[in-house]
Protein backbone atom coordinates (compact mmCIF):
# COMPACT_ATOMS: atom_id res chain seq x y z
CA UNK A 1 0.00 0.00 0.00
CA UNK A 2 1.27 3.48 -0.84
CA UNK A 3 3.00 5.39 1.98
CA UNK A 4 1.33 8.58 3.18
CA UNK A 5 3.03 11.81 2.08
CA UNK A 6 2.82 15.26 3.65
CA UNK A 7 1.45 16.91 0.53
CA UNK A 8 -1.14 14.15 0.22
CA UNK A 9 -2.41 14.95 3.72
CA UNK A 10 -2.45 18.69 3.00
CA UNK A 11 -4.49 18.05 -0.13
CA UNK A 12 -6.93 15.83 1.77
CA UNK A 13 -7.40 18.49 4.47
CA UNK A 14 -8.11 21.09 1.79
CA UNK A 15 -10.64 18.76 0.18
CA UNK A 16 -12.24 18.18 3.59
CA UNK A 17 -12.86 21.92 3.97
CA UNK A 18 -13.97 22.35 0.37
CA UNK A 19 -16.65 19.72 0.94
CA UNK A 20 -17.55 21.22 4.33
CA UNK A 21 -18.10 24.71 2.90
CA UNK A 22 -19.93 23.26 -0.12
CA UNK A 23 -22.17 21.32 2.29
CA UNK A 24 -21.55 18.06 0.40
CA UNK A 25 -22.85 15.87 3.17
CA UNK A 26 -22.45 12.38 1.75
CA UNK A 27 -18.87 12.95 0.57
CA UNK A 28 -18.03 14.80 3.75
CA UNK A 29 -19.26 11.94 5.94
CA UNK A 30 -16.96 9.52 4.09
CA UNK A 31 -13.94 11.28 5.58
CA UNK A 32 -14.57 9.71 8.96
CA UNK A 33 -13.80 6.16 10.02
CA UNK A 34 -16.85 4.37 11.49
CA UNK A 35 -14.98 4.24 14.81
CA UNK A 36 -13.73 7.84 14.78
CA UNK A 37 -14.00 9.99 17.89
CA UNK A 38 -14.18 13.79 17.92
CA UNK A 39 -14.01 16.76 20.23
CA UNK A 40 -16.31 19.25 18.52
CA UNK A 41 -15.34 22.89 19.09
CA UNK A 42 -17.92 23.62 21.77
CA UNK A 43 -18.51 20.15 23.24
CA UNK A 44 -17.72 19.26 26.82
CA UNK A 45 -17.10 15.60 25.98
CA UNK A 46 -15.70 13.61 23.09
CA UNK A 47 -18.26 11.71 21.06
CA UNK A 48 -18.46 9.24 18.17
CA UNK A 49 -18.01 11.03 14.84
CA UNK A 50 -21.29 9.59 13.54
CA UNK A 51 -23.21 11.59 16.19
CA UNK A 52 -21.31 14.78 15.37
CA UNK A 53 -22.05 14.26 11.67
CA UNK A 54 -25.80 14.09 12.31
CA UNK A 55 -25.68 17.30 14.33
CA UNK A 56 -23.36 19.06 11.88
CA UNK A 57 -25.69 18.18 9.00
CA UNK A 58 -28.73 19.47 10.87
CA UNK A 59 -27.10 22.71 12.02
CA UNK A 60 -24.72 23.60 9.20
CA UNK A 61 -25.69 21.81 6.01
CA UNK A 62 -29.27 23.05 5.72
CA UNK A 63 -30.44 25.41 2.95
CA UNK A 64 -30.37 28.44 5.28
CA UNK A 65 -26.78 27.91 6.39
CA UNK A 66 -23.53 29.22 4.99
CA UNK A 67 -20.06 28.11 6.06
CA UNK A 68 -16.67 29.61 5.26
CA UNK A 69 -13.15 28.64 6.25
CA UNK A 70 -9.65 29.91 5.60
CA UNK A 71 -6.76 27.67 6.63
CA UNK A 72 -3.29 28.65 7.83
CA UNK A 73 -0.24 26.45 7.22
CA UNK A 74 -0.98 22.76 7.73
CA UNK A 75 1.62 20.92 9.82
CA UNK A 76 1.84 17.21 9.02
CA UNK A 77 3.46 14.62 11.28
CA UNK A 78 4.02 11.28 9.58
CA UNK A 79 3.82 8.62 12.28
CA UNK A 80 3.84 5.51 10.12
CA UNK A 81 3.38 4.56 6.49
CA UNK A 82 -0.42 4.51 7.05
CA UNK A 83 -0.86 7.10 9.82
CA UNK A 84 -0.43 10.89 9.98
CA UNK A 85 -1.50 13.91 12.03
CA UNK A 86 -2.56 17.20 10.47
CA UNK A 87 -2.68 20.27 12.70
CA UNK A 88 -3.43 23.83 11.71
CA UNK A 89 -5.07 27.10 12.66
CA UNK A 90 -8.07 28.34 10.72
CA UNK A 91 -10.63 31.13 10.49
CA UNK A 92 -14.16 29.75 10.48
CA UNK A 93 -17.43 31.56 9.93
CA UNK A 94 -20.97 30.24 9.88
CA UNK A 95 -24.40 31.77 9.37
CA UNK A 96 -27.38 29.65 10.30
CA UNK A 97 -30.93 29.57 11.59
CA UNK A 98 -31.62 28.59 15.19
CA UNK A 99 -34.59 26.34 16.02
CA UNK A 100 -36.52 29.33 17.42
CA UNK A 101 -36.31 31.17 14.11
CA UNK A 102 -33.45 33.53 14.89
CA UNK A 103 -30.65 33.86 12.38
CA UNK A 104 -27.13 34.11 13.77
CA UNK A 105 -23.57 34.54 12.58
CA UNK A 106 -20.59 33.04 14.40
CA UNK A 107 -17.02 34.09 13.67
CA UNK A 108 -14.17 31.91 14.94
CA UNK A 109 -11.00 33.83 14.03
CA UNK A 110 -8.67 31.57 15.95
CA UNK A 111 -9.85 28.03 15.29
CA UNK A 112 -7.42 25.15 15.86
CA UNK A 113 -7.66 21.66 14.40
CA UNK A 114 -5.99 18.33 14.97
CA UNK A 115 -6.99 15.50 12.62
CA UNK A 116 -5.50 12.01 12.74
CA UNK A 117 -5.67 10.22 9.38
CA UNK A 118 -5.25 6.48 8.85
CA UNK A 119 -5.31 4.66 5.52
CA UNK A 120 -7.99 1.97 5.64
CA UNK A 121 -7.85 -1.51 4.11
CA UNK A 122 -9.09 -0.09 0.78
CA UNK A 123 -6.31 2.50 0.73
CA UNK A 124 -8.57 5.47 1.57
CA UNK A 125 -7.43 8.05 4.12
CA UNK A 126 -9.98 8.48 6.88
CA UNK A 127 -10.08 10.54 10.06
CA UNK A 128 -9.89 8.36 13.17
CA UNK A 129 -9.75 11.27 15.64
CA UNK A 130 -10.46 15.00 15.43
CA UNK A 131 -10.09 17.79 17.99
CA UNK A 132 -11.47 21.22 17.06
CA UNK A 133 -11.22 24.20 19.39
CA UNK A 134 -11.04 27.97 19.54
CA UNK A 135 -8.22 29.90 21.18
CA UNK A 136 -10.66 32.62 22.18
CA UNK A 137 -14.29 32.51 23.34
CA UNK A 138 -16.82 33.00 20.57
CA UNK A 139 -20.39 34.20 20.77
CA UNK A 140 -23.12 34.15 18.15
CA UNK A 141 -24.23 37.49 16.76
CA UNK A 142 -27.94 37.75 16.06
CA UNK A 143 -28.62 39.07 12.57
CA UNK A 144 -31.27 41.74 11.98
CA UNK A 145 -34.48 40.95 10.20
CA UNK A 146 -34.45 37.29 11.11
Amino acid sequence: MEHIGKEEIRAVVQTFWNLFTAKSKSEFDQFYSPVATVFAADARRSEPARLMLVRRARELFGPGSAVGAKLATIDVQLLRSDLAIASYAFHFSVTRNLPGGKRVRVEVPFGRATQVFQRDERGILRIIHEHMSSAEPVSPQELPGA
Partner: protein, 129 residues
Protein backbone atom coordinates in the same frame (compact mmCIF):
# COMPACT_ATOMS: atom_id res chain seq x y z
CA UNK B 1 2.18 18.54 35.35
CA UNK B 2 0.89 19.13 38.89
CA UNK B 3 4.50 19.52 40.05
CA UNK B 4 4.44 16.49 42.34
CA UNK B 5 6.83 14.32 40.35
CA UNK B 6 10.61 14.47 40.06
CA UNK B 7 10.45 13.32 36.47
CA UNK B 8 10.95 16.01 33.91
CA UNK B 9 7.75 16.87 32.09
CA UNK B 10 9.62 17.44 28.84
CA UNK B 11 10.87 13.84 28.84
CA UNK B 12 7.31 12.68 28.20
CA UNK B 13 7.41 14.39 24.82
CA UNK B 14 9.05 13.33 21.60
CA UNK B 15 11.68 15.85 20.40
CA UNK B 16 9.42 16.41 17.39
CA UNK B 17 6.19 16.80 19.37
CA UNK B 18 3.68 19.49 18.40
CA UNK B 19 1.28 20.99 20.93
CA UNK B 20 -1.81 23.18 20.95
CA UNK B 21 -1.93 24.56 24.49
CA UNK B 22 -5.20 25.68 26.02
CA UNK B 23 -5.30 29.16 24.52
CA UNK B 24 -2.48 29.44 21.96
CA UNK B 25 -3.44 30.66 18.52
CA UNK B 26 -0.72 28.53 16.90
CA UNK B 27 0.87 25.17 17.64
CA UNK B 28 4.26 25.04 19.35
CA UNK B 29 7.16 22.67 19.95
CA UNK B 30 6.27 20.18 22.69
CA UNK B 31 9.48 20.46 24.65
CA UNK B 32 9.39 24.26 24.71
CA UNK B 33 5.87 24.15 26.10
CA UNK B 34 6.86 21.56 28.70
CA UNK B 35 9.78 23.68 29.95
CA UNK B 36 7.55 26.76 30.13
CA UNK B 37 4.88 24.87 32.04
CA UNK B 38 7.37 23.65 34.61
CA UNK B 39 8.68 27.20 35.09
CA UNK B 40 5.17 28.60 35.52
CA UNK B 41 3.94 25.89 37.87
CA UNK B 42 6.87 24.71 39.97
CA UNK B 43 8.10 27.91 41.60
CA UNK B 44 7.89 28.66 45.33
CA UNK B 45 4.35 29.23 46.66
CA UNK B 46 2.92 27.97 43.40
CA UNK B 47 0.72 24.90 43.21
CA UNK B 48 -1.47 23.05 40.79
CA UNK B 49 -3.68 20.01 40.62
CA UNK B 50 -5.68 18.07 38.06
CA UNK B 51 -8.65 15.71 38.20
CA UNK B 52 -9.11 13.49 35.18
CA UNK B 53 -12.30 11.84 34.00
CA UNK B 54 -12.31 8.47 32.23
CA UNK B 55 -9.52 8.13 29.66
CA UNK B 56 -10.58 6.70 26.30
CA UNK B 57 -7.81 4.99 24.35
CA UNK B 58 -7.85 4.28 20.62
CA UNK B 59 -5.15 1.88 19.53
CA UNK B 60 -3.91 2.79 16.05
CA UNK B 61 -1.65 -0.10 15.12
CA UNK B 62 1.24 -1.57 17.06
CA UNK B 63 3.05 1.58 18.18
CA UNK B 64 0.53 4.46 18.30
CA UNK B 65 -2.36 5.20 20.66
CA UNK B 66 -4.69 8.18 21.08
CA UNK B 67 -5.78 9.11 24.60
CA UNK B 68 -8.77 11.43 24.98
CA UNK B 69 -10.29 12.68 28.21
CA UNK B 70 -11.80 15.63 29.99
CA UNK B 71 -10.27 17.17 33.09
CA UNK B 72 -10.35 19.94 35.63
CA UNK B 73 -7.15 21.85 36.29
CA UNK B 74 -6.49 24.27 39.13
CA UNK B 75 -3.34 26.33 39.50
CA UNK B 76 -1.88 29.15 41.53
CA UNK B 77 0.70 30.83 39.35
CA UNK B 78 2.37 34.10 38.47
CA UNK B 79 0.44 36.21 35.99
CA UNK B 80 2.08 38.17 33.20
CA UNK B 81 2.12 41.26 35.42
CA UNK B 82 3.91 39.41 38.22
CA UNK B 83 0.89 39.10 40.48
CA UNK B 84 -0.35 35.75 41.74
CA UNK B 85 -3.46 34.42 40.14
CA UNK B 86 -5.71 31.43 40.59
CA UNK B 87 -6.79 29.72 37.37
CA UNK B 88 -9.54 27.10 37.26
CA UNK B 89 -10.18 25.16 34.07
CA UNK B 90 -13.47 23.37 34.70
CA UNK B 91 -14.15 21.86 31.29
CA UNK B 92 -10.73 20.93 29.96
CA UNK B 93 -10.46 18.57 26.98
CA UNK B 94 -7.35 16.67 26.03
CA UNK B 95 -6.10 14.69 23.06
CA UNK B 96 -2.67 13.12 23.50
CA UNK B 97 -1.17 10.94 20.79
CA UNK B 98 1.53 8.55 21.97
CA UNK B 99 4.06 6.70 19.87
CA UNK B 100 6.63 4.17 21.05
CA UNK B 101 10.12 5.46 20.20
CA UNK B 102 13.17 3.49 19.05
CA UNK B 103 14.01 2.68 22.67
CA UNK B 104 10.52 1.32 23.33
CA UNK B 105 9.39 4.31 25.41
CA UNK B 106 5.96 5.82 24.84
CA UNK B 107 6.23 9.52 24.16
CA UNK B 108 3.68 12.17 23.26
CA UNK B 109 4.06 13.18 19.62
CA UNK B 110 1.03 15.47 19.51
CA UNK B 111 -1.15 17.14 22.14
CA UNK B 112 -4.22 19.33 21.82
CA UNK B 113 -5.60 20.90 25.00
CA UNK B 114 -8.66 23.10 24.96
CA UNK B 115 -11.50 24.23 27.15
CA UNK B 116 -15.18 24.08 26.31
CA UNK B 117 -15.71 27.05 28.65
CA UNK B 118 -13.07 29.75 29.24
CA UNK B 119 -11.04 29.18 32.45
CA UNK B 120 -11.88 31.30 35.48
CA UNK B 121 -8.95 33.52 36.44
CA UNK B 122 -8.87 35.43 39.72
CA UNK B 123 -6.16 37.69 41.07
CA UNK B 124 -5.03 36.64 44.54
CA UNK B 125 -4.68 39.10 47.41
CA UNK B 126 -1.11 39.36 48.69
CA UNK B 127 -0.80 39.67 52.47
CA UNK B 128 1.51 42.23 54.07
CA UNK B 129 2.82 43.57 50.81
Amino acid sequence: MSGKSNEKLEDLYSPAAIIFTGKAKRSESGRLVAVRRMRQLSGPNLASGAELDAIEVQIAGTDVAIATYTYRFHSHRMGKDGSREQRNTLFGRSTQIFQRDDGGTLRIVHEHLSSAVPPKVEKEQTSGA
